[in-house]
Amino acid sequence: MTPSILSHQEVADELALITSNPLDIVGLLARAHHPQAGAIVLFSGDVRNHSNEKSVAYLEYEAHESMASGMIAAIVEEAKSKWKLTIALATHRVGKVAVCESAVVVITASAHRHEAFVANRYIIDKIKHEVPIWKCEYFADGTKEWGGNCNCHTITGEVGKHVYEL
């Protein structure tokens, strides 16, 4: 067998959308250089050492993995087609994530920068609000707290409807 030469699309298709391994930002970024892309935007959501004025030991992410994978794939494809992106990819960690490590990465590339910026923000907002992935903060004092910062339904009046849809 000869090694196959993968197109950018094929490489992106192989990406694990949900993974318990550290995110290889450099490897992901290397995929995003594309001769028709004039603009690349990368977002990395990192674990902070403080939250609600408490010292964070680490975070743990839990997901409904099959739903989360399917929804991330659909969001990325929707954005790719809506903004005619040359590259769009997203990947989210589950399990324990240390301070300064990346929990989620989104990369978008397009001919001109406006589309890459808008699409990247769209993808990460949708992932954070809609995809069944939850974070639990474990603090240095031994306490823990489940995140549930999306309280959009208290504003929109409808469970599953978010402020950016108003």
Binding site: E62, H64, S66, M67, G70, I127, K128, H129, E130, V131, P132, I133, W134, K135, C136, W146, G147, G148, N149, C150, N151, C152, H153, V159, G160
Partner: protein, 77 residues
């Protein structure tokens, strides 16, 4: 039917459990779970429910052998 809960709901219910009762839709299931643990009412009212990787609405008819996933709000910010 089988119920699986996630994240903060695990502070109120077992992660997975069986329910052998005549429950035919999501509002009825939610009411029953609030009876089990009234402290979970607030969070249950902000959850979505899913069957076979798809969110369901109030009208969806639950079958005896369905697994229902209860999905709290995402992390948002």
């Amino acid at each position: 039917m089988r119920v699986q809960v996630f994240a903060i709901l695990k502070d109120y219910f077992d992660k997975e459990f069986e329910l052998h009762e005549n429950i035919h839709d999501m509002p009825a299931l939610r009411e029953r779970l609030i009876q089990f643990n009234p402290a979970a009412a607030g969070i249950l009212n902000s959850c979505r429910f899913a069957v076979k990787d798809e969110f369901i609405d109030n009208d969806f008819q639950l079958a005896e052998n369905d697994t229902i996933y209860i999905i709290p709000p995402g992390s948002g910010g």
